[in-house]
Symmetry: C2
Subunit: 206 residues, 2 copies
């Protein structure tokens, strides 16, 4: 093994540790944001939650806004891993549509974030606060809706959903059941709203 080779490996390992630590911090930040809000996500509070010094966190994130934006990206990765990516193995539009909805409800039920869906929580908080953080949060909820809409259109092309339906209207209604289930699950601490959303989706897609 050459010295250069070993040096390269060491550098790579260091980077990878730094990356892991950054990801771990951001996952904690995303959880905190669903209870305290992105606005309540101060570097001081996060330092407490992850057991690091404030100066250590400042080395990772230069400003509160940088931390907020990085937290949104981390939450988006989690959401993709748990909800979106597993639905992409479905070979039909209707299959993808049902999988997106079911994966969303399972993600909420698993309490990955204590305040429920990260994006519902953050969009509701930031919608009246213009700026890059709000814009990024809204972009994420738009991308989710666009994914639902594409699956509805594919399901229509396959004949699994009536082609006469307005796809935007159907996607709105399905998304409404999911958002309501998320809000009521957290507020009531009960799975009854998740079951109600499943029935509503079955009925609407049958």
């Amino acid at each position: 093994m050459s010295v250069v080779g070993s040096g390269e490996r060491r550098v790579r390992k260091q980077r990878s540790d730094g990356e892991r630590s950054r990801q771990a911090i951001l996952r904690e930040a995303a959880k905190l944001a669903t209870t305290e809000g992105l606005t309540g996500l101060s570097i001081a509070r996060l330092a407490d939650a992850v057991g690091m010094s404030k100066s250590g966190l400042f080395a990772h994130f230069g400003s509160k806004e940088e931390l907020q934006l990085a937290t949104i990206e981390a939450a988006s990765e989690i959401f993709d891993e748990e909800v979106v990516t597993p639905a992409l193995v479905e070979t039909t539009g209707i299959g993808r549509l049902r999988a997106l909805a079911e994966n969303f409800l399972r993600h909420v039920e698993a309490r990955v974030f204590p305040g429920g869906c990260f994006f519902a929580s953050v969009a509701a908080e930031m919608d009246t606060h213009p700026g890059p953080v709000r814009d990024r949060a809204i972009q994420m909820t738009d991308a989710w809706f666009t994914g639902l809409l594409a699956a509805v259109r594919d399901a229509q092309a396959e004949g699994a959903v009536d082609p006469a339906e307005d796809p935007g209207q159907l996607a709105f209604e399905l998304n409404a059941y999911l958002l309501m289930a998320n809000a009521a699950f957290v507020a009531m601490d009960s799975t009854v709203p998740l079951a109600a959303a499943r029935r509503a989706i079955d009925r609407r897609l049958s």
Copy 2:
């Protein structure tokens, strides 16, 4: 006019001015709460918003929690005036159900609160913060749902809605359209989601 009589009138007028001023402060507080959250509703920030001294506000509300609870009551009065009470003139269950939904959408569209429905905003914020403020906010959203449910049941008794429908399921779905419309109206600053909710409600009740 006796001295006693004139004194009584003065006392009554003072009380009434105090009441008016308190209501005006609380309406401002309710607006602020839909953008900054009930948690962000500090006596200092509210003093700025209403142009009063902090000590003047402390005379009205002894603590932040008292202010938060009073703000919820004030928002509830506004909601009742604009959404619930006008629907009660309807003589049928189906009429009341449609009026509750339509009044809600108009209340959101009128931007009475800059962050949309006060209770959707506050319930989403407080759901993970146990205590009397959370409990009161959740009670208010429960009361709204109970009102929808009662109207659905009356509409079933009249034969305007299929008696075989699960009334809780139907109320869940209607409430979901309203909550989605509220969230998307504020996030997108567009009336498109309000129109989508109207179509969804018409379809579901036809």
